[in-house]
Symmetry: C2
Subunit: 226 residues, 2 copies
């Protein structure tokens, strides 16, 4: 039989959103040691009594720490090692999540230990544990996925225009894309449908789209050019 203990097992969430042309990640201030008072990714220990899976832990922690459920959630990867947590060998299952800014802001603004931090500002902030490395890996994944899928749509409200989608994509990959290419992809993916309502954002009114209910995410066979 085994003579050793099971290592510490946590989950961490990298929840992204886009607001005012900035890609932001949700950070929470740690209220307990270790790293008390430092900014960190919202996460915590897996509790088998409560959670049916690590994904459930991820959702539960997001709800506890930010009051929201993400529009999109997928596993990023596991980070493990003897030195990433001062308490000893630890393993964290990291989840990568997306949400629309409007869905969350009311709650998050009122909690002063949770905050949206823009990706650029992240460089100048010390994060707990290896959370900055984790956030960077998640960012890479988000950027890569943006090139071959419509995941950025999950950073938008339930009704959105092509221009909003374009704006979000450009913010994520840091490069302008062709509106025409996006329209072709919206059409080809068959993930969205036009609603009979228009957005009045400036001059000409824009067609609003929504995700078709219960639709699966489509991966394109080509990347947008980098």
């Amino acid at each position: 039989m085994r003579s050793y203990e099971n290592p510490m097992l946590t989950i961490d969430n990298v929840l992204f959103t886009v607001h005012e042309n900035a890609l932001k990640v949700l950070l929470v201030k740690r209220s307990i040691a270790p790293c008390k008072g430092m900014w960190s990714l919202p996460g915590g220990f897996v509790d088998p009594k409560v959670d049916a899976s690590t994904e459930d832990t991820a959702k539960r922690k997001l709800l506890e720490k930010s009051g929201v459920q993400p529009n999109y959630l997928e596993q990023l990867e596991v980070f493990s090692g003897p030195n990433r947590d001062p308490r000893g060998f630890s393993v964290t299952v990291v989840y990568f999540a997306l949400i629309g800014y409007q869905q969350t802001s009311i709650h998050i603004d009122t909690v002063n230990d949770a905050e949206w931090i823009s990706i650029e500002d992240l460089e100048n902030i010390d994060l707990a544990f290896d959370h900055k490395d984790i956030a960077k890996v998640a960012l890479q994944r988000l950027r890569q996925k943006t090139l071959y899928s419509m995941v950025p749509a999950f950073c938008l409200p339930s009704l959105f225009t092509i221009s909003q989608l374009k704006q979000v994509i450009e913010t994520i990959i840091g490069k302008s894309v062709q509106r025409k290419s996006l329209m072709r992809r919206v059409e080809a993916s068959d993930m969205f449908e036009e609603v009979d309502e228009k957005a009045v954002t400036g001059k000409r009114q824009a067609q609003l789209y929504k995700l078709k209910p219960g639709v699966n995410i489509v991966n394109f066979e080509r990347n947008l050019s980098v």
Copy 2:
């Protein structure tokens, strides 16, 4: 403070190779309960005293159970839940690995509790725990990655011809591909170099290629067509 125990933490490996036009996965027979005597993926408990990371555990277990180190190893994903192991809530970090058949066969043939099972045969075999589901997810990942990268090269010996590469790719995705397309990708990826040696496999001798030392894997911007 937390009142609960850390859940069981294991790793499992899905090690693939290609041999005689069949895609095969390495299975080992379980020598202890639970599921004693059943075929399973080679894996085991993470031991923080020995392993510096879950990836180290994966490599260690592959070495212990099959005597080999893979040419390619990456994290697949975590599977967790209260029912996947009869001992209770468990979490397994699954790794996805590739190796050339020739590198392993000597050792594996002599160990009668480790065996290469072809993907087709897998359907008719009962695997321990949720290992069949895990193997299927790994297979999907392998097939997807084959469409946009040269990972299948890691299923080949260190020197290989375009024809061998073509054969391996076709076995993995179950569809024929254009030799011309592969040559273009071999060239474009800049991952391989011609060696001044030729393979005498039939009629005209074929150029042998090898991986450039220390090279990173390249992802193409388009998929091969499905």
